[in-house]
């Protein structure tokens, strides 16, 4: 576990969880917006689901269309917020970043993964690419209400 910190508001976790359950047994995906402090701590205040545009087996893969991505960047610029990452679900698998996740990962983004086991939310984890080594490190995830940290997600 690294010292990187991602705080998810309870509202964003509700959106992510609902999307993961709704999409089950397929993978869901969406964008994460918020702010980053000078120390690098991230506060995610908005999660926006988008269509999983992957052609083929969506139980094992997700893909976000280029136009959805382009509009997500435009939204951030127009609303004075930051696009800090994406989330997706791992149906019936742990929230561990996979080799496939790593192969196409971009630097900087927080990749939040929600594990959905038999249609129930099991876990949340977040990963960030270490660009030079091309490996993921796990970020510490906290679920927060207002500005108070309530409990670390396990």
């Amino acid at each position: 576990m690294s010292n990187l910190i991602v705080k998810l508001s309870e509202e964003t976790v509700e959106v992510i969880n609902a999307d993961g359950i709704c999409a089950f047994p397929n993978e869901c995906c969406g964008f994460l917006y918020g702010t980053e402090s000078a120390s690098g701590e991230r506060q995610i205040t908005l999660a926006v689901p988008v269509t999983n545009s992957k052609e083929g087996d969506q139980r094992r893969r997700f893909e976000i269309s280029p136009l959805d991505y382009l509009r997500a960047e435009q939204y951030a610029l127009q609303n004075d917020t930051a696009l800090l990452g994406v989330y997706h679900s791992h149906p019936n698998h742990p929230a561990i970043a996979s080799e496939h996740d790593l192969a196409v990962a971009m630097p900087y983004f927080s990749y939040v993964i929600v594990s959905v086991m038999q249609g129930e939310i099991a876990d949340h984890k977040s990963w960030r690419l270490q660009d030079e080594e091309r490996v993921f490190v796990e970020e510490k995830v906290y679920i927060v209400s207002e500005s108070s940290v309530l409990n670390p997600a396990s």
Binding site: R61, P66, L67, V104, M106
Partner: protein
């Protein structure tokens, strides 16, 4: 001048600039100006043959340049070019 929108994950290679103004008259010229100015960005956009990497797409307005004239797509002073990284993944 035309403008290139830099995607958030790559802004650390452009001194955190979200856009770059270019005098290039084609998409290829515009991208070349961008990577010559911000050299650390090049390996994230281009392969060893100086072609766009497979997981990077370039849009002019809301059109993929692959559906236009690719790198030869013309650029006018009010053109907005967007660099779009592939966002994908999934379980093994």
């Amino acid at each position: 001048m035309a403008k290139i929108i830099i995607p958030t994950p790559l802004r650390k290679f452009t001194d955190n600039l979200s856009s770059f103004e270019t005098t290039g008259t084609t998409v290829q010229e515009a991208i070349e100006q961008l990577t010559q100015t911000h050299t650390a960005l090049e390996r994230h956009l281009l392969d060893d043959s100086k072609n766009l990497r497979s997981f990077i797409k370039v849009y002019v307005g809301e059109d993929d340049i692959n559906s236009l004239e690719k790198g030869a797509t013309s650029v006018s002073p009010n053109t907005v070019i967007s660099i779009v990284p592939a966002i994908a993944g999934g379980i093994n």
